[in-house]
């Protein structure tokens, strides 16, 4: 019984964290994008419009939840949760502070790489069950994209795993040394690009492609179900940025306490900002360019990275 209660408490607090992360992410994105575009972004609610995303969320909660007549109703309703749950689960192994992650497991990196990938099923189901041509195309594009970027992403993380000799993110952070950064730079770039692609963020937002497919696989979702898609997107950004900051940038660098939490937070914010910056500046890839990048550029780069690390390891 206590197990269930604990799970419930844990799940709810996890949900709160991801909701907060999404609220912050949305606000930050709109502010950063606004500044890039010589605008202000939201200003009205709260200081610098910080509660704008809250108003958006309340509004979306109170909106009508439409299930289109042509949709496969059961699948249509369940798809947002199939996307959201794996992404929320992946937050569990992220080290938010020095030496602490909600779930400190020895296979944390593997967990992080494997679990969010399940959300591709949700995207595919969302696209197909909508019964809408845009959504169907978006779902197919999303599946193709996410599967092809799994490989370079996993390979890129391998380099750090070899250097650290562990798969636990907390341990990696503890063992991190400054010269890992130049050595694993190639892998970091591959990780970053393929993570952006995994998250379907611009310039890899071809499943959503608002100028081609209107909104892609979630074109027919409204209200709270659409908000869940958005939350999983921003939750994914936060998770990726924290993971990248912990693994490739050294995370809290052995500094404990509030300072360490702040340090990893700042590094993650840096990565989030770069994701937003790139997303609003670059044109979108076309599907063939996307696959070319994955197979002809990123995968070889990740392999070269592994070779580099493999050459260095015996000299240590």
């Amino acid at each position: 019984m206590t197990g269930y209660v604990g799970g419930l408490v844990f799940g709810l607090s996890g949900g709160m964290v991801i909701a907060l992360a999404a609220l912050f992410g949305v606000w930050w994105e709109r502010k950063v994008a606004g500044r890039i575009q010589m605008r202000l972004g939201p200003t009205e609610i709260g200081p610098a419009g910080v509660f704008q995303a809250l108003a958006d969320t309340i509004k979306l909660l109170l909106k009508e939840d439409i299930t289109p007549r042509q949709a496969d109703k059961k699948l249509f309703r369940v798809a947002p949760f199939l996307v959201f749950t794996p992404i929320a689960m992946s937050l569990v192994v992220i080290p938010f502070a020095n030496g602490w992650a909600p779930l400190d497991t020895s296979v944390g990196m593997l967990f992080y790489l494997a679990v969010p990938a399940v959300s591709v099923i949700g995207i595919l189901i969302a696209g197909f069950s909508s019964g809408n041509t845009y959504a169907t195309l978006g779902g197919i594009r999303g599946a193709a994209q996410m599967i092809s970027y799994e490989l370079p992403r996993t390979l890129s993380v391998l380099a750090i795993a070899i250097l650290a000799g562990t798969l636990a993110p907390v341990e990696v952070m503890a063992r991190y040394e400054w010269w890992w950064f130049p050595v694993s730079l190639l892998g970091f770039i591959v990780f970053f690009i393929s993570s952006v692609a995994e998250l379907n963020r611009a310039p890899f937002n071809i499943p959503e492609a608002d100028s081609e497919l209107v909104a892609g696989y979630f074109a027919d979702y409204s209200g709270i179900r659409w908000a869940i898609f958005m939350m999983s997107e921003y939750g994914g950004i936060v998770a990726t940025s924290y993971f990248g900051a912990a693994i490739f940038l050294g995370g809290s660098q052995g500094i404990g306490g509030v300072l360490g939490v702040l340090l990893i937070f700042l590094k993650a914010i840096l990565l989030i900002t770069v994701i937003i910056w790139v997303g609003w500046t670059f044109p979108r890839f076309r599907s063939d360019q996307l696959l070319t990048l994955a197979w002809k550029v990123l995968t070889p780069m990740a392999l070269v990275q592994i070779v580099i690390v493999g050459v260095i390891i015996p000299w240590l």
Binding site: A33, I36, Q37, M38, R39, T133, Y134, T136, L137, R141, A202, P203, N205, I206, A209, D210, S211, E212, L213, V214, W280, T281, F282, P283, R284, F285, R286, S287, D288, Q289
Partner: protein, 399 residues
């Protein structure tokens, strides 16, 4: 900008390998029971973020590849040509504003030229200069919109906003000039409606260097991007022969290497007095069309500078134009080079103060007819790029 700038388009085009997805032969997919697999029909429009207005494209796709794209137009058909038959010659001018709403000055001018030809009105020189200055600024504004929406369609929102910033400044100048941001009603039969405000020319001359700088920034931001070049190159290739036989004009024809600019080759107004070049593309793809537009903006700036230098005080309206212009019976056609190509107005008079028939030869209408040919065989993502590169304005296409 001189001849080398035109070369730059040509040399630049070979820099990145053009990714061409044009399929020449397509194997018909057959289902297991022997029937051909149906293609997916995607209905793009009439309200779609990148149809630039209200165009509907019924697109048949095989996977991602467009096998057939059929544009359906007329969603903005307002019957301007019929309305004009019940208005006097001067009352038609505001209607022409609403045709090409991205570049209202052009339709004003083309219509005014037609009326002037029909009624035998001679326009004072200062008015001609003012027309050239405003229309070249309008060309800048219109091309910035086109370039911006090309980048917006390909997903680069920031580039859109940067280019719109330049456009916004031009519109501010127009607001100072005639009080309106979009529908100017400025060029009228017999001249222009208003004298320029004090210091207007100086403001423009002071702004042009800034605009050049912003333009080169935009150039680097969007065209300097590897993804953008990959998205635009080799997409929607139009051969020069097709451009001529399909009646394409403006940057669409010039991007294909058709050296045809009415300002230069069938010259009108005071254009022969200016020194400017006509940018010509070589590959005829979306990239060359967009580059042509970009370089035309530079050329427009040159023309504006020269025109402001040459302009002299004088009357801005022809003398003795009656309120009711009633030309002698007959028909006249006159055309100008708008941002989208040769824009002509055909007027038939029966001697009464109202036009008996007005027909607008809209360049965007002719250019848009190319869409099925250009989009076929490309991916769905390229369809919006091709459509954007034809730069249709539906007020003008549908009239």
């Amino acid at each position: 900008m001189n001849a080398s700038s035109i070369d730059r388009i040509t040399s630049d085009a070979g820099e990145v390998d053009a990714v061409t997805l044009k399929i020449t032969e397509r194997t018909k997919k057959i289902a297991t029971d022997g029937t051909p697999v149906d293609e997916l029909v995607v209905n793009v429009g009439p309200s779609h973020p990148s149809t630039h207005g209200v165009c509907r494209v019924i697109t048949h796709v095989d996977g991602e590849i467009v096998t057939k794209a059929e544009p359906v137009i007329g969603y903005l058909h307002r019957g301007v040509e019929k309305i004009a038959e019940n208005r006097t010659y001067l009352q038609v001018v505001p209607l022409t504003d609403r045709l090409d709403y991205v570049g209202s000055m052009y339709t004003n001018w083309a219509y005014s030229r037609s009326v002037e030809r029909l009624a035998g009105i001679r326009v004072p020189e200062r008015a001609e200069y003012l027309r050239v200055i405003t229309c070249e600024m309008q060309r800048m504004a219109s091309h910035m919109m086109s370039l911006g929406s090309t980048s917006g369609d390909s997903g680069a929102t920031t580039a859109f906003i940067y280019s719109f910033d330049i456009r916004e400044r031009v519109i501010e100048f127009f607001e100072d000039l005639c009080g309106s941001r979009l529908t100017y009603n400025y060029v009228r039969p017999g001249g222009v409606s208003m004298e320029v405000p004090d210091g207007w020319f100086d403001d423009i001359l002071a702004w042009l260097p800034i605009a050049r700088q912003s333009l080169s920034e935009l150039d680097r931001l969007f065209f300097g991007n590897h993804i953008a070049r990959g998205r635009l190159k080799g997409i929607g290739v139009l051969s020069a022969e097709d451009a001529v036989s399909w009646g394409a004009s403006g940057p669409v024809a010039r991007g294909s290497g058709v050296n045809w600019d009415l300002r230069k080759h069938d010259t009108y107004s005071v254009y022969p007095r200016f020194d400017f070049d006509v940018p010509i593309g070589s590959n005829g793809d979306a990239y060359d069309r967009a580059r042509c537009r970009l370089f035309e903006v530079y050329e427009s700036m040159r023309i504006i500078e020269q025109a402001i230098e040459q302009i002299e005080p004088g009357p801005i309206k022809a003398d003795g134009i009656p309120r009711l212009i009633a030309p002698r019976p007959g028909d006249a056609y006159d055309h100008i080079e708008s941002a989208r190509g040769s824009l002509g107005v055909y007027l038939v008079s029966d001697g009464s103060p109202r036009p008996y028939r007005m027909k607008v030869r809209s360049p965007a209408f002719c250019n848009l007819a190319l869409l099925p040919m250009l989009a076929e065989g490309h991916t769905l993502s390229d369809l919006v790029i091709v459509l954007g590169s034809l730069d249709p304005v539906f007020g003008e296409v549908d009239r």
